[in-house]
Amino acid sequence: MTATAQTTSPTRRSTLSKVGHWAMNNGALVGLILLCIGLFIATPAFLTIPNIINIGIQAAVVAILAFGMTFVIVTAGIDLSVGSVAALGAMVSAYSFASLNLPGILTVVVGLGVGMLAGSISGLAIAYGKLPAFIATLAMMSIARGLTLVVSNGTPIDTSDTVNIFGSRVAGIPVPIFAMVLAGVVCWFILSRTVLGRSMYAVGGNIEAARLSGIPVKRVLVWVYALSGLFAGLAGLVLAGRLRSAGPQAGSGYELDAIAAVVIGGASLAGGSGRATGTLIGAILLAVIRNGLNILNVSSFWQQVVIGCVIALAVGFDVFRRKTDS
């Protein structure tokens, strides 16, 4: 069940101890649980079903971006462009609907395709152009945002009904949560089950060894950023679908949240580690902090102070746990 490079030891264990082991290996999970307990004590409104669904919906966009980012960070890279690429994908999709009258399903394909294309370009620049990932994706962040403005002419554009489904509920299930779960499963599956995913760990863990073992390092890197772009495209559709409109400034600053979610989830920016479950926990942790502070009506000035402290504490707790563990 683990989506990690560390696989379980061969001795059989009871399901219970397995769950315990999984929990202990899952980054800031304990921090998240503590936070939830604290919030529940502070305000019972926190732990109602509708609010839990809320949190899920609110975590969705960052979580989807973060799943894509997980691939990138596993390979010791960084992708600063995800927020802008999400906006660009959604905007081009909305444009293709509003101005080109594409049918709904195609507008979805366009949104995802644009994301994947932008990611691939970053990937090519990194793998073949040998640009540092920071620079290539910083450039893409700027370029994608600029193109979003150009396409939209600075005005929000309404999205197609098909895209709007990404922000609505179908048969009572909030589609953003569904999209998040889907993205998480795909991320977990790719990382733990496919040759591509295992190659990502090899590239991030020891790029020289990967190269000497004949792993097509460059092709893997292009795939990594293409996937990150694809996930960003999906996140953009969810974001736009919720608002039923693609905004020119949508997703600004989300890249930091996405990276933070992955790192809170236990991955190292030095590469070679990171997994889907951890990323999910990281993204939910961020959403819970914000939701909790809203519900507690903390002043918006102090909110930022508290968010900073809680992030540091949650990760600090994880670090402490690991130290005493070993």
Binding site: S9, V195, R198, A202, G205, E208, A210, L212
Partner: protein, 508 residues
């Protein structure tokens, strides 16, 4: 005679202005073991990297089965059935043992990892070299020796026609070497052609067929593998070496410099006590995983320990404080120079002065001129082969890198030197230079604590030999009277027989 599987035909390789390989030819014949012999930096690794598609020759040709061939990539070489065990470990620490063995060749179905086939292949490969480790264990949690065995298993699993082994035995001890050589014998019977590099001359006669001797990138001579060691040494270094272990113990050991009492660290070692006197070399022997490295690191303050004391001249050292240990005159040459010893991208000079630049600084400013002078002095005393002090240390040959780590502590005027496999990958000539440095330290009233898996070295260079077994000190031997069998008897005395090869470092 059969036709060569592979021939390097008058190849040349230059890096910038430096010619590293100058017009050398080597044949790899089916069912034969071709040995490459030369000092550190002679160009052995460079030569084999041209066979495995990492470097391309600047002059000359590569012939495979008699046909001129270009090997632009590692994949291309693999396609010709060439597998390589590199001198430096090439493993992904986060991936499992099984995945590392099959790295780049992961069995797949529609892009999905075929895990049962992966495990089957991997366990067959481990079986072959007799390594017993959990297939799912991340390779980074294994010790150097086991990692080296995984690396070997990885190359063997490629079913190669040509197998290149660049110092595969440097990190291994007797039993694993025996196992490896029996695999080599099997391969020889299967008509696999092999290239073998080692600085352990005794191994050459054991498994080699012919020896190509290199000096400064040039071909010296090709001789049969049963050539006497002294002759090989003369060909290699251009002079005779009288005494391979020139230990000069002082008449009378001085006062106790380092005393270790009841040192314990859960899961690593238990109740280890010893004393080292001024002028003395205390060796520590044992099997891989006996906990020798851990003891050394604990003494140096690199790791914390649970119980016990470390004292220098009676003054207790604070646990886990490297700075205090260095202040007290200790220095550590770690077992893994790449990961723990060197700043690979930095210059030889910076690496040489890494432990002393703070000491020699004035008012917080680095003494750059003085550093250059001192680094120059030490590297020439240690005979470090390099293009210049400004060269990134990454580009030095392995043995020369080791000398720089050693030189760092020479510069620091270390009184108590802790050595962990100090001559791993070092050529015979340089070994003697390092041994002379050990002598110089003890002559000056210093003391040396030396972990060595090479029994002749452990016996030949130490005055007394502490033997460890599964985390416990099982005895102390007088080196000049003890035999290798005595050491081995103590080394296995704390373990059940079945565990000797695959005993886990963490077994408490």
């Amino acid at each position: 005679m059969t036709a060569p599987l592979l021939r390097l035909d008058h190849v040349t390789k230059t890096f910038g202005p430096v010619t590293v390989i100058d017009d050398v030819s080597v044949d790899v014949l089916p069912g034969r073991v071709q040995v490459l012999l030369g000092e550190n930096g002679a160009g052995k690794s460079t030569l084999i990297k041209m066979m495995s598609g990492i470097y391309q020759p600047d002059g000359g040709r590569i012939l495979i089965d008699g046909n001129e061939t270009h090997l632009p990539t590692v994949k291309a070489a693999e396609a010709h059935g060439i597998a390589t065990i590199h001198q430096e470990l090439n493993l992904v620490p986060q991936l499992s043992v099984a995945e590392n063995i099959m790295l780049g060749r992961t069995p797949q179905k529609l892009g999905l990892v075929d895990r049962s086939s992966l495990r089957r292949h991997a366990s067959a490969a481990l079986e072959r070299i007799g390594l017993r480790v959990p297939l799912d264990r991340p390779v980074g949690t294994l010790g150097v020796a086991k990692q080296q065995l995984v690396e070997i298993a990885k190359a063997l699993s490629q079913q190669a026609r040509i197998l290149i082994l660049d110092e595969p035995t440097a990190a291994l001890t007797g039993t694993e070497i025996d196992q490896l050589f029996s695999v080599v014998e099997d391969l020889r019977a299967d008509q696999v052609g092999m290239v073998f590099i080692s600085h352990h001359l005794d191994e050459i006669a054991r498994i080699g067929d012919t020896v190509t001797v290199l000096r400064d990138g040039q071909f010296v001579q090709e001789v049969p593998a049963d050539t006497p060691e002294n002759e090989l040494i003369r060909l290699m270094v251009g002079r005779d070496i009288e005494d391979q272990f020139p230990r000069r113990a002082p008449e009378q050991p001085g006062d106790v410099l380092l005393s270790v009492e009841g040192l314990s660290s859960e899961g690593h070692f238990e109740d280890v006590s010893f004393e080292v006197r001024a002028g003395e070399v205390l060796g520590i022997a044992g099997l891989v995983g006996a906990g020798r490295t851990e003891v050394l690191r604990a003494v140096f303050g690199a790791d914390r320990y649970d119980r016990g004391t470390v004292a220098v001249e009676g003054d207790q050292l604070p646990p886990g404080d490297v700075g205090a240990a260095i202040e007290a005159g200790l220095g550590l040459v770690p077992e893994d120079r790449k990961a723990q010893g060197l700043v690979l991208e930095h210059s030889v000079q910076d690496n040489t002065c890494l432990a002393t630049f703070r000491h020699h600084a004035r008012a917080g400013l680095v003494d750059r001129a003085g550093e250059k002078r001192r680094a120059d002095d030490v590297t020439s005393r240690l005979n470090v082969r390099m293009a210049g002090l400004g060269q990134p240390i990454r580009n030095l040959s392995g043995g020369n890198q080791q000398k720089v780590v050693f030189g760092r502590w020479v510069l620091a005027d270390t009184r108590i030197l802790l050595l962990d496999e100090p001559t791993r990958g070092v050529d015979v000539g340089a070994k003697v230079e390092i041994y002379e440095l050990i002598n110089a330290i003890t002559d000056n009233g210093g003391a040396v604590l030396m972990v060595s898996s090479e029994l002749p070295e452990a016996l030949g260079m130490s005055d007394r030999l502490l033997v460890m077994s599964a985390g416990r000190a099982t005895g102390v031997l007088e080196s000049n009277t003890a035999s290798e069998d005595d050491v081995m008897a103590l080394a296995v005395s704390n373990i059940e027989p079945a565990q000797t090869i695959s005993s886990e470092g963490e077994a408490a």
